[in-house]
Symmetry: C2
Subunit: 397 residues, 2 copies
Amino acid sequence: MHRDGAARRGEFGTPHGIVQTPAFMPVGTRGAVKAVTQRDLEDMGAEIILGNTYHLYLRPGDELIARCGGLHAFIGWDRPILTDSGGYQVFSLASLRRIREEGAEFRSHLDGSLHMLTPERAVDIQMRLGSDIAMVLDECATAAPSDSWSDAGGSVRRSPGSDPKSVAAGAMERSARWAKRGRERQLQLRHDPRSAPEVNITNPGQAQFGIIQGGTYPDQRTESVQRTIDIGFEAYAIGGLSVGEPVEVMYDVVAHTAPLLPDDRPRYLMGTGLPDDLIECVARGVDMFDCVLPTRNARNGQLITSRGPIVIKNARYAEDMAPPDPDCACYTCRHFSRAYLRYLFLAGEMTAATLNSLHNLHFYLDTMRRIREAIVFGSFEKLRREFHQTFSRRPQI
Amino acid sequence: MHRDGAARRGEFGTPHGIVQTPAFMPVGTRGAVKAVTQRDLEDMGAEIILGNTYHLYLRPGDELIARCGGLHAFIGWDRPILTDSGGYQVFSLASLRRIREEGAEFRSHLDGSLHMLTPERAVDIQMRLGSDIAMVLDECATAAPSDSWSDAGGSVRRSPGSDPKSVAAGAMERSARWAKRGRERQLQLRHDPRSAPEVNITNPGQAQFGIIQGGTYPDQRTESVQRTIDIGFEAYAIGGLSVGEPVEVMYDVVAHTAPLLPDDRPRYLMGTGLPDDLIECVARGVDMFDCVLPTRNARNGQLITSRGPIVIKNARYAEDMAPPDPDCACYTCRHFSRAYLRYLFLAGEMTAATLNSLHNLHFYLDTMRRIREAIVFGSFEKLRREFHQTFSRRPQI
């Protein structure tokens, strides 16, 4: 492993190949990265993608996917896949959910049907999906308070009568208890698959990552790390961030937490973020990222460039024959103008989403390549400074 | 040129390269073939695409496209482009239209604004777009009767008090008069561009095709051919078919009309059709086709295969891990299953439209390749018989 300050340049192996880190994982929520094909992802150099367990469990169903040979076979992607536990979507998407010690009861956002997600079931579902990396079920600090039904629309950060810190502590402690149950189930299926014939295991070499919770409280984060490492996973993720806290707070929590994690395992920061977040968190010791922003922003007509975001529908681009980012080598920038992309977006052509997504994903993946190279050459701090001089979070007018 | 019966294997040159015939042109209505990229089209071997003048004139506008260097530069496609005259969409899409000798007055389907499309304007617009092949403005036999406002919704085939044959004759005769005016304008711009400084000519080598009308009446078709050839165009198209007449009638009109056209020029059958229509009309002497079916059907979940159409949403495909067409070499069939495509379609993922479109377009383009090869090897009739034995128009249940 190469190092440059706290930044790390490594790799990890999976049953479907090796992933170079620091790595960005495009999000293929429902078994497809929106608006691009698997071929596009391979061309862009994506080495691993993320699938959402909640969505795939509800439709087409983990058992159907297992009968089809697992998620890799089903979606036609033979590189690594990481699946989340489904918990985050239960908290954010399901129409009603009730969190109890046993697990999370919820209604499907598709048809209102009632489901129960327990730590054990989250393992079983992901074993059927056959991802290369499974995440343990955790409770997000932003979740509804225990034993109370609540609408999904309002994210309950401060429920009446409980202060935020004790809500975070409760979620962290429950996450630790759930992590223990999830790990036990994973090891059972791994070592004695015949004890659970109802689980069609499609990828026996699946790894399982634990998740650190604890909100924005360093003492809770420290305790969460200790309890999760005591259980013992193949690697660890930092959860419960990028949920609305100020970005500097997020950076501080990462700076506190990452160094506490085992040095020889990849560290995954869940759900972050903007390009400068990637660089700042690599600088704090993170190795893996996922985020919907590059693809979601693309569909909304926002292109992320080395000079900052471009809002493509803006009238100033109507006859602008320059590529979105003159410094970018992606397919979109090599062949198409801002004028054409603006027109496609305003006309509502699907191709707009595709070309914008190709660009934004390339930008993210290329940023990671530059980061990896800079760490090897000991020039990461130089890259970090340059990036902040040229990249602006503010959209161009 | 190779021949096999009435079928012809040729090629024609344009300012953006040579096109092998018989050729199928994917339809890029608004300057983009829906759900696929220009790279995808190149990979599939599309040698020429079609753009719709009506749509591009209304948005983003032919003058804007001319300022951006023409349609090729604007959409990032450097192979040949054919543009229609805009007339067909005026008749089928515009919210109100009034056909007079001068031209077609209509309201934009986008914003209700009033526009006038004359034979001369159709030339000017396409000269600004800079397509390689421009079509002359014609009046479709299905159009509204002269000097009457009518809703676009109802296609007026038989207006009260006028029999269909005289309606067709009127449209044919007007088309011939419009063709003369359109040709004169084209030659003026070609030979004396300074006489029309308002027309920014972006492709001086543009060819212009005349269009044969005359409905389903052989005598009218014969007259239309004579009058249009007398005017003299680079090549000729058969218009006014695939507008609801029985397919055998369409074949008969093509069989009557194609041999009357100059032997040394490509013959273009506008807006047709299903794969067996392509083979049947090549057998009758047609060289060029365009049709929205492969892309439109793809978006609606219908895949066209060598064994007939597949309705991908059908429950029988839920766990069917076979490719859509086991005999197909397209990207979709090489990498994805019916089960995955069904799931993507039902989940509403954009990727469904892309993968289905890639398959259907490949099927059309590959059918044309097989036709061209068979003509060269004198086995076209064998291919035609085999195709009809294996290909069925009826969707699979």
